[in-house]
Symmetry: C2
Subunit: 140 residues, 2 copies
DNA sequence: CAAATATGTTGGCCATATGCCAAACATATG
DNA sequence: CATATGTTTGGCATATGGCCAACATATTTG
């Protein structure tokens, strides 16, 4: 179960999962396309890919929802985002800058590194862009 | 001249430029393919792309060399790598870990962010993986 | 110096990730 | 139930990165 590296998903797919997590419940593919600013057909296709990984469940014409595995994974993704943004904000980047910057590269930062950063920062509870839940963050 | 965002090049091309910078002078495409562990034909092709951007000059069957522009840009790339690695090393990552981690995502970190991080760290002269030259690092 | 060997390049082809458009299809509403 | 709206499918396109086999160029050596 803890064999996740954090590098499983491509940048866009990370966005999808984070959005599904924040939205919660059954989400329409159109909501996703609106949010991520892509064509509805694009979100449908990408959701198809994600469904293939078992992270989401797609009920055609109804919507998408995170599976149990997907939920845990998405939680890690959101925490990673928040931890990295918080780190950057310590170097003079504004909340918005940090958040935007992180969004660009977060998909390439390993869970191992995030865990160390998190530990080093003393497991903060809040970041510049949201709360942090210390579940998937390994050792203390 | 200072309109670089730091996001101009794809990950692999960043690796190529950093290698050319470190090696210096005329570099054989085969050296590149050995170093980056790709087929020689792959390095030749990628070098062709880079030549199209004006960052390198390719003399067929002879080698590749950074242009003046390429040299300055590569210096930024190396500095970015070093600054980011140094930052990560402050969070409990070993030199090797920091360096490896940085290599994965560095191409997606903007010059604007790097400049702020650099300033915030007080313009350090050395990192965990090499010296830092404060030329392309903007304001103090 | 020419033949043999080593090195480098080209062309063809493949895979992944993303994306759009138009057409088909399903669902919801009046 | 007919039409409007929402969703999916299929076709196609781009960018990045990669391999192999065939060809071109250099270098080495007899």
């Amino acid at each position: 179960m803890q064999d996740i590296t954090g590098l499983e998903l491509s940048p866009k797919k990370v966005e999808y999962l984070k959005f599904l997590f924040k939205k919660g419940g059954l989400v329409r593919t159109t909501d996703i396309s609106t949010q991520l600013q892509v064509d509805p057909s694009t979100s449908t296709k990408t959701i198809g890919d994600l469904a293939g990984t078992g992270l989401v469940e797609h009920i055609p014409y109804r919507g998408v929802r995170l599976t149990e595995t997907g939920l845990k994974y998405a939680e890690f993704l959101v925490n990673r985002h928040n931890i990295l943004s918080l780190m950057l904000s310590h170097y003079g980047l504004s909340a918005e800058e940090a958040c935007k910057e992180t969004s660009r590269f977060e998909s390439l930062v390993s869970k191992a590194a995030v865990d160390k950063i998190c530990t080093s920062m003393g497991h903060p509870m809040t970041s510049v862009c949201g709360k942090i839940r210390h579940v998937s963050c390994g050792v203390p």
